[in-house]
Symmetry: C2
Subunit: 430 residues, 2 copies
């Protein structure tokens, strides 16, 4: 305990020893054949962290021979497994409250869309978010960030989209910026004004048109001018935005320097995937209803196929995205929690790995690559995080297992023992 | 922190206040209509614990007016939810190692039965258990017991069945007894010598007959004479024991004072449920393949229908047990983790509640009743644990949520904040 405390307080160099496995995830975002088959395991390896970066990683003798290793504080992880901190590339971090009452309704038979039609669903969260102060929202998000860290996550993407008006969307995006500045986690901000058409526009004849104009002419330029987001996302789905509307919004984003991402083919096939690829989107997310042509198109593209199995699990849907077909075709597959109060209330990437393995038939190696280096690629952070290589950020998750396959295997449990962000311990189990 | 420490060290009386909800689960094991619909919620209630028992529970003013309340140490739970500690009525606590390598094989396409035929599966665990020392096994089990407590469980059932010879079965059952004596958790011991026919009997013409004779004539009498188990269980399944064999074994158990339990209709319908009911079994477990007649028979019986959805989840099977039909018919439904290295490597009852709600369509109230009072009934412990009533053991789980429905809602996460067993804090999150 004293050692841990010293590290927290003093050290700029840490030498990590006593590992059973280090998963390096060497290599860039990877298709089938490289990192997906090989998570780059080093047995009895060591890591040297210095000034928040990885200074050395490899066989223990080699790392211990590094000129800076001598002066480093030692952290013996007692046979645990070390891997890159998870990169959670799809979250709705900022929201005001849980929706456990809708959860009970759904269990009793109401569908997600029926609940939405009754004023529940996303619009329920919008009403609550608009009424909440920035302080309240921030406090809730800070608790969530601590929880993300406790499950091994060191970088997250965060989407707005429960505001749906200028004031409320900016309230969310400014919180992304504040929380990112305060750290400990890195936060990549995405503008999702196109989450749904808000209630006040719904009963107008030109409501959709007016709201989209508000997005493209006011909100997107304002967000971009204030550098409040890197990405622009659209929920392309029946009941939300159709293909033409999605294109209009994402193109407005691009003109303003916001790179596209897309909620695609979750509940129905809309063609969003092909559009996303055409627009050069960084990621297409969900993909439960994609067809073979979509899979082929993804395989030829650099758009990441980000799967969100937590959502299907929580909604009790039987159809998961065709992960194996995507991997076999050569698509870059990512995994994320989709942390949100309506359809995926979890921050646990280990749980998502369990779902990926047991339900989507991804191997543990596939799943871990999808939750680290591939997810980093989808956020344009693959040169910074997602693998354990010299020069990258010292972002690590240390799991209390002897073999990395046990991370998804022990389902519903959290074996994360220590999380290190930019060389600092941000979570440690006592 | 100081307060918690004091309680641990000194107090025999604790007054718990500041609850948002207390779930009392009043009433005995319950069919649809009483506790299953009504978990007995007290808002802003209080609990008085004394000498390991519940001395008072109810509205705060009333409990605070209790003559012993004044001298009790206060534990303010700051708006959290208090419920009975979970009763996990089906675990294979003692085993030597994880089987994460088989997990990867299964994901790659091999079925559970194929892996078993290749010497994997249960026989893999048997080989490892026979080779392990009692000390090694005990250490592993102690770690698991700490984890059970960390997820809110205060009583477990534990089955032998990875020994399958006299020495090894007794090694397991003696560990049950030792661990139960050391506490902190209560352990109810079950003899499952009839888990599978061991390798050394498999290639003999009369192997099954000989092994069953060993069970009925040697192991069962020995187990009973040494009071090493309360229950006798059989894995009635193709590839394990057929109906006639199961009857023979359970009847031998009954003659020796061991009450029957049964692994029934997991991978195929064998008729085990009807046999179990005829024999007056305390519980029939699994039940994925039961038919309508089985459901009707369970509804008329006092045999608990114990569902183990973790098993289906981990094996990636699409068919869960028909929980709603069982509840609607009036059966007593229980839930358990089935903690074991092959088919359900989890100790997390909150995860089982999430599965029960999202996949089996049990309401959060149904699920919590199934994991507390109904499970206690299946172990003959319903007068002692499973609900928060005066005179029962002070076994509590305190969850860091504002509404009990959030326990299954936040899936893959553990919101258990404090676990109290017989009036003592055995787990507390810092």
């Amino acid at each position: 305990m004293v050692i841990l405390h010293n590290i927290r307080a003093l050290s700029t160099s840490i030498l990590i020893t006593g590992t059973s496995q280090i998963l390096t995830l060497r290599g860039a975002a990877s298709r089938r054949g490289d990192a997906l088959r090989d998570v780059g395991i080093i047995k009895d390896g060591a890591l040297l962290l210095r000034d928040g970066l990885i200074a050395a990683v490899g066989r223990r003798e080699k790392v211990e021979a590094h000129p800076l290793a001598r002066e480093a504080e030692q952290l013996n992880v007692c046979g645990r497994v070390v891997l890159p901190g998870f990169v959670d590339s799809h979250t709705h971090l900022i929201h005001a409250a849980s929706r456990s009452e809708e959860y009970e309704l759904r269990i009793s038979g109401a569908s997600y869309e029926e609940i939405a039609q009754r004023g529940g669903g996303i619009l329920n969260s919008v009403a609550k978010l608009r009424a909440a102060t920035a302080d309240t929202l921030k406090q809730r998000a800070q608790t969530a960030l601590q929880q993300f860290a406790a499950y091994g996550t060191t970088t997250i993407e965060a989407k707005s989209g429960y505001g749906l008006d200028l004031t409320s969307e900016l309230k969310i995006l400014r919180l992304h910026k504040e929380l990112a500045a305060e750290r400990p986690l890195d936060i990549v901000s995405t503008f999702l004004g196109a989450h749904l058409i808000p209630a006040e526009f719904r009963n107008r004849p030109s409501g959709a048109k007016d709201y989209i104009a508000l997005l493209t002419d006011t909100l997107i330029p304002e967000v971009a001018a204030n550098k409040l987001a890197e990405y622009c996302d659209v929920f392309c789905e029946r009941g939300a935005f159709n293909l033409a509307q999605s294109r209009e919004i994402l193109e407005a984003g691009k003109r303003n320097g916001l790179k596209p991402r897309m909620h695609a083919e979750q509940l129905s096939r809309t063609g969003a995937t092909q559009l996303a690829i055409k627009l050069g989107a960084a990621s297409c997310d969900h993909l439960e209803k994609i067809n073979r042509a979509d899979i082929r198109a993804l395989a030829k593209s650099t758009t990441v196929a980000t799967l969100l199995p937590g959502c299907d699990f929580h909604l009790g849907l039987s159809q998961y995205a065709p992960a194996r077909a995507l991997i076999d075709a050569g698509a870059i597959v990512g995994l994320a929690t989709d942390y949100n109060p309506g359809t995926s209330p979890t921050v646990s990437m280990p749980m998502i790995l369990s779902l990926a393995c047991t339900q989507l038939r991804m191997t543990p190696a596939d799943a871990i690559a999808a939750a680290t280096i591939n997810a980093a690629y989808s956020l344009g952070r693959h040169k910074l995080v997602g693998s354990l290589q010299v020069g990258k950020l010292a972002d690590l998750a240390i799991f209390d297992v002897a073999d990395y396959r046990e991370i998804p295997y022990y389902f519903g449990m959290n074996a994360c023992h220590t999380t290190i962000k930019r060389g600092k311990i941000i979570y440690s189990r006592n």
